[in-house]
Symmetry: C2
Subunit: 339 residues, 2 copies
Amino acid sequence: MSDIAPVRWETDRLILVDQTVLPEREIERDYRSWQEVGAAIRTLVVRGAPAIGVAAAFGVVLAARTSHAATFDGLLADLETAIKGLAATRPTAVNLFWALDRMRQAAVASRALPLDAMRARLLAEAQAIRDEDIAANRAMGAHGAALVPPNARILTHCNAGALATAGYGTALGVVRAAHAQGKVALVWVDETRPVMQGSRLTAWECVREGIPHRLIADVAAASVMARGEVDLVVTGADRIAANGDTANKIGTYSLAVLAAHHRVPFYIAAPFSTIDPSIASGAQIPIEERDASEVRRVGGQQTAPSDSPVFNPAFDVTPAGLIAAIVTERGVVRPPYHF
Amino acid sequence: MSDIAPVRWETDRLILVDQTVLPEREIERDYRSWQEVGAAIRTLVVRGAPAIGVAAAFGVVLAARTSHAATFDGLLADLETAIKGLAATRPTAVNLFWALDRMRQAAVASRALPLDAMRARLLAEAQAIRDEDIAANRAMGAHGAALVPPNARILTHCNAGALATAGYGTALGVVRAAHAQGKVALVWVDETRPVMQGSRLTAWECVREGIPHRLIADVAAASVMARGEVDLVVTGADRIAANGDTANKIGTYSLAVLAAHHRVPFYIAAPFSTIDPSIASGAQIPIEERDASEVRRVGGQQTAPSDSPVFNPAFDVTPAGLIAAIVTERGVVRPPYHF
């Protein structure tokens, strides 16, 4: 059972584990305004589709607390400003917009309450989003573990673990549950350039939980598959279209193609809050492009000429046809997908 | 025309461009013993299959110069020690063994000469290996450029450029020649973790030569192909088996699978010195595994827990069936391959 709590509330503030400095340093930071939370999402202090949804929900709580409005309409206007600002931090993961919508609805539903009661109601809503996320992850773990054969060698990409969620994890939640059942021989951890969420975060979670793992450069995944040493691939998701096309961390699509070539099943694990039934296919998912410096540098180390142009998409889209199943909190969904 | 000379001889010493500090610093280092040259090959000061062959040949020249032997047999024994030591530096690229064999043969053929004349003969042989490599690269460039369509978007991996050879390059030689013919719209440069030869070296060569390029994390190659923005892939090689199976930098096989999936032609460019007809298939090519620190760190930056186990193969094998053609100095070879 994971005791990693990357997003937690304490009395009057949000506390985030700073994921930009792991694994070298384990630091928690305090946040007392929605603007600070927005900056934390933008700079990847907190990342992972479910985790940024939960963090943004608490950002709305902070906006309600810091608002000087004396009327419901005034407070709602301040919340709308915060919601708009938080929604502008990152474009791809839909959980962010889903959580913000839910907070807006909770505010509107509290119209008749005194403002302090409305603030308490918003805090309760954010805590519910957090608690439901952990519960969904545990349910996904149970459903997904049934897909894992004995002595499994599982490859995962990026970090879809406790750190990417309110706790426990989506793809790594499946790994955790299968590990608890004694079925995991090895987890292949892709380092996941350019931000290294695999080597920095997933490997750190594996070390902490005693899950047997081996770290590889992303480019080595194909070789490991060719050697017959991968039984399944499981990753998280940032947005799933109605037809099952799935946006996730850049490199996921590459793994899905490689898995198909090597006849290795490729699974997605994600809660229903990651599904966006409003869009028909992956072609409509906006893909965030991040700064060139992520590719030209690693930490303080320059790894490319400063004048080399860079293309740095943070996500890619895996067509539904390459996805053997999607593990959700309601069960395992098989193709054809209709969300 | 490239003026990059990564391996050159001056009067009494070998001079290497230190490829471990590019692109931040351009430093040349002097070598006066074969042991120093061996260390330079092992630590990647010089890398790239043709370049390490040329460097090792000059290492044998240095062994002949530093030997105190007064007889042919004594000198030959010292050379054999150097050849054995140089051959033990890296296992995969066959050009190293090919160049050392050629130097041994040159020594044996000089049996009747005075020792100083034999030393001169060895220097001439190493210089011939160097000059022939450049000539082979230019011939490959001419043959390979014919495969490049107008306005081509070319993806390459690792560095198979001037720095990987005596000059001009194999895969990047094809790019250079096509660029000189005005046919290159863009070169996609894979950064090539873990040692970053793409971002550190290939991007540096492109900047220096004014070749339009864009750097990507290795994980983004599949996305770029899916967007229809890659017309062909071309890489170098470290060893080619008799059946065409090709060992090259880790990640090459991954690209070959991705190229096949996206119906993008995948080419290898390599001189005949890279072909090892003594082995039937890629299964017999020894694959070097390098230190875990290459994956756990980038420069001074720790990117993974220090106790996470690592699998760090430096090369992979691309089956001949995924290779549309092999560009050699004698022309373009199409499957089925029989070397």
